[in-house]
């Protein structure tokens, strides 16, 4: 029988520690599949973040290391500059990338460091139980914005992809989403393109993936795609911003 689909060999046998319905799992799976398609699963190194994906290195078959919360772009800079031939992904949450680590994120992008950032934008701090992030939507309820996020108080939404796309150095900046099969395919293409650029030409690429957090959104997973389509993507439109 012809095999049309199989579990990526770059995924470990271990199941992930993500909550049911969380789109982190989808993102990890896509990275694994792309690494296989590019034939780089033995070369690729992935940086695990401080966040829900802290155990990322357990789920995948790549070498992995981490950084303190927010610092992957600095740690990744040191790694990639010392080892330019090794493909490197920085897998980061929106809190990691756009809040505590925004300085490192932006400076690395502006220097055009030769790695790929995959940013999982679930609009909350997932791991610590759903506090507001710089990506939390105006009016959105979180454990630290219990009556809804007031932008005058917590600041408006930070659209990191748009900021990074304003720099000269980045080769490819895109925002994709993981809420429908069509979007997932587009996200996979984006991840592949980012890695191809990294490997073939060198340079910085940033792929933001709109994602869900049913646990902390306190939403049934099956309702999350509709909410994302109707509410979240209005604030965070998908598409290529650069390259």
């Amino acid at each position: 029988m012809e095999s049309v689909y199989q579990r990526s060999k770059a995924l470990s046998a271990a199941s992930t520690s993500f909550c049911p319905g969380c789109m982190h799992s989808t993102a990890v799976k896509l990275i694994c599949e792309v690494s296989e398609e590019l034939g780089i699963q033995d070369d690729l190194v992935i940086m695990a973040p401080i966040g829900c994906a802290v155990y990322l290195g357990v789920f995948v078959q790549f070498d992995s290391f981490g950084a303190p919360h927010g610092r992957p772009a600095a740690t990744g800079t040191g790694f990639k500059r010392s080892n330019p031939d090794v493909p490197l992904i920085l897998y980061q949450g929106d809190g990691d990338c756009a809040s505590i680590g925004i300085a490192e994120t932006l400076h690395a992008a502006n220097r055009g460091e030769g790695f790929t950032v995959i940013m999982i934008n679930n609009q909350v701090y997932g791991m610590t139980g759903g506090q507001a992030a710089p990506t939390t939507l105006p009016g959105q309820k979180t454990t630290t914005s219990q009556y809804g996020k007031i932008t005058e108080d917590m600041g408006d939404v930070i659209k990191l992809a748009e900021i990074i796309a304003s720099f000269n150095a980045p080769k490819y900046v895109t925002r994709q989403s993981l809420h429908t099969p069509k979007n997932i395919l587009a996200a996979k293409k984006a991840i592949k393109k980012a890695l191809e650029i990294q490997i073939n030409e060198g340079g910085y690429s940033y792929v933001e993936l709109m994602s869900s957090c049913p646990t902390n959104w306190k939403m049934d997973p099956k309702d999350t795609p509709k909410y994302m389509e109707e509410v979240v993507l209005k604030e965070f439109p998908v598409g290529d911003l650069k390259g």
Partner: protein
């Protein structure tokens, strides 16, 4: 071939780092470290290494961690406020067991303080690296030559124990010029087989899962693994006390009085010892070269039947080093301290007066 040159302390130290095989430096300018960053900004490129002017010390310390994960000999240098910013990653490095070199060119005071040399980072660097209670090896040279010799060995030691190594100098030592012998270039070892190095998988080796905390092991759960491994680290720290303690005894023959001091304070105290000896006063100097491990046994072994009194000297107020010395010193030995704060230098004549007061 080694060469004899006259160089500023910071520059000699950096040149020796390159000779030792360091090929990655990240730093953020801060007085009195700036000349180190400036020197390496051009010199690192000449030797084919990577220099990054980081956006902050937070970034700098994480960059050198990343470089170490690539198997490269990496270092940073900073001072006071910059060191405070680095502490989270110092704890991460101690937990990951990552060999890197950090040079602390001390300046005065807490907060922004002052830019003159001082010794106020003693507790911060020697007691624990950041949060969590893990440690690194800490060296404190008192001459530019010694700082050159120590940094030339620093990565060998860091890699042997898989630990961050600190070199503590200060603004005075960093800025002064001295004739030094700079050693020849040596090659860094291939570290790709080290468990903390990612990438370059050869011969189908298994993936490496590198974490800052030893969650994984044979003990069933993360807490028990961490407990087990930290106890193992403790054994390593204890072994340093046996095997890695370094100190200098200066003019201690028949000494009746002993000065105990480190770094620049010890350097100044050497002048005092010479003066006092010329006056017929039998005084010597004990100078810890390693601050961690601390020469506890050597201090505890100071014989109350021979030494009538001890004077500690340091460039910081409140006292730090003084308390560390008195922890181990025989309680029957009279002890006093002479110190200056605020970035003021200790003075040889004031050290001499302080010794005489003990007589």
């Amino acid at each position: 071939m080694s060469e004899k040159v006259v160089k500023k302390g910071n520059e000699a130290l950096c040149e020796a780092a390159l000779r030792a095989g360091c090929r990655f430096f990240a730093g953020y300018p801060i007085t009195p470290q700036t000349t180190a960053t400036e020197y390496l900004s051009w010199r690192m490129k000449e030797v084919g290494g990577v220099f990054v002017q980081a956006e902050s010390e937070l970034a700098a310390i994480n960059m050198i961690a990343g470089s170490a994960h690539a198997g490269c000999r990496s270092m940073t240098a900073t001072s006071g406020p910059g060191l405070s910013l680095m502490t989270e990653t110092l704890s991460v490095m101690a937990g990951t067991r990552l060999p890197t070199v950090i040079v602390d060119i001390q300046r005065a005071g807490a907060g922004i303080g002052g830019i003159q040399g001082a010794q106020g980072d003693f507790y911060m660097v020697t007691k624990t690296l950041g949060h969590g209670g893990l440690q690194g090896l800490v060296y404190a040279p008192d001459t530019i030559q010694e700082s050159v010799d120590i940094i030339y060995e620093a990565w060998d030691i860091a890699e042997k124990y898989r630990t961050p190594v600190f070199i503590m100098t200060d603004g005075t030592m960093g800025q002064m010029m001295e004739a030094v012998e700079i050693p020849d270039f040596k090659d860094a070892p291939d570290l790709s087989d080290q468990p903390y190095v990612a990438g370059k998988r050869k011969d189908g080796r298994a993936k490496r899962l590198i974490t800052d905390s030893p969650w994984f092991g044979s003990k069933g759960n993360a807490n028990d693994n961490m407990e087990y491994f930290y106890a193992e680290y403790e054994k390593m720290y204890e072994s340093w006390e046996e095997n890695e303690v370094r100190y200098e005894e200066y003019m201690i023959d028949e000494a009746e009085y002993l000065i105990i001091a480190w770094g620049t304070s010890a350097r100044v105290a050497k002048t005092s010892v010479k003066h006092l000896r010329n006056q017929g006063i039998k005084v010597g100097l004990l100078r810890p070269i390693t601050l961690a491990p601390f020469p506890k046994k050597q201090i505890a072994a100071i014989d109350k039947n021979k030494i009538k009194a001890v004077l500690t000297v340091e460039m910081t107020i409140p006292s730090q080093f003084h308390h560390e010395v008195t922890r181990y010193l025989d309680k029957d030995i009279k002890v006093d301290t002479y110190r200056r704060g605020g970035g003021n230098m200790v003075l040889d004549e004031e050290i001499e007066e302080a010794v005489k007061k003990l007589m």
